[in-house]
Subunit: 144 residues, 2 copies
């Protein structure tokens, strides 16, 4: 499906900020997070920008600049993150409209739309069951 790693990087980022703040730091920088996630700071800033628009994080500029959470990890689910960074549907319909003169071509889109809607609904339910706090605890529980 050509899956991307945006949800992964976003979860990584939020867990990192959350842990860092618990260690007494006020803000985290994109460079620190990029170091942990092994990617480029601009990639992190782009993602954090979308998370900020969704109200999950906020940023400070100037001296002592960086990113911080707007609420506790317990009050943040993977669905919140997913909605913040993934715009489109899981499955796409036809690129070009099918032949409406054909019985199948005429009815296939409404028929599949129902199925797809049901699937997206269950995915969203599943995502909403896991908080970022759950993720952080699972991370810390991994033996080293």
């Amino acid at each position: 499906m050509s899956a991307n790693s945006r949800l992964t990087i976003a979860a990584h980022t939020l867990a990192w900020i959350g842990l860092y703040q618990r260690q007494g730091h006020a803000v985290a920088t994109s460079e620190q997070i990029a170091g942990s996630a092994n990617t480029n700071p601009v990639v992190i800033r782009r993602l954090l920008g979308e998370l900020r628009e969704a109200g999950l994080v906020e940023s400070r500029r100037g001296g002592g600049a960086g990113w911080s959470l707007t609420r506790d990890l317990k009050a943040m689910t993977l669905l919140d993150v997913y909605d913040a960074i993934e715009p489109g549907p899981l499955f796409a319909l036809h690129r070009a409209d099918p032949d409406q003169g054909c019985v199948i071509g005429h009815g296939i889109q409404p028929a599949l739309q129902d199925v797809y809607a049901g699937i997206e609904c269950t995915v969203r339910q599943e995502l909403s069951k896991t908080t970022l706090e759950d993720v952080l605890q699972a991370v810390l529980a991994v033996p080293r």
Copy 2:
């Protein structure tokens, strides 16, 4: 997520062949299906090739060539189709391995893998609930 329409086109194709065979025809051609789905015959043949490898359809060459189902639409679920044409996972992990020296970097992949596995499991369950016969009936039930 850059969703594709492969599952849609495959379902369209199978429903089309199924209906066509019920109308008394032995085989369907990629050109006929492409006309209904409003795409190119080669696109259909490529998809049908993958469905054939999964054992859902078979093809005949030479005179009177074309495609036919290997079993009834009732015995074919969207999960069978999905497995035949979608190789990868729904969500990807990091492109480059995260910093293993960092607590988050070390534990994030196992932690997220569990979550992702659970989600894929529910998606598969959901897909397995719908047969291609269900799809065809839903298509035929759409008012024109």
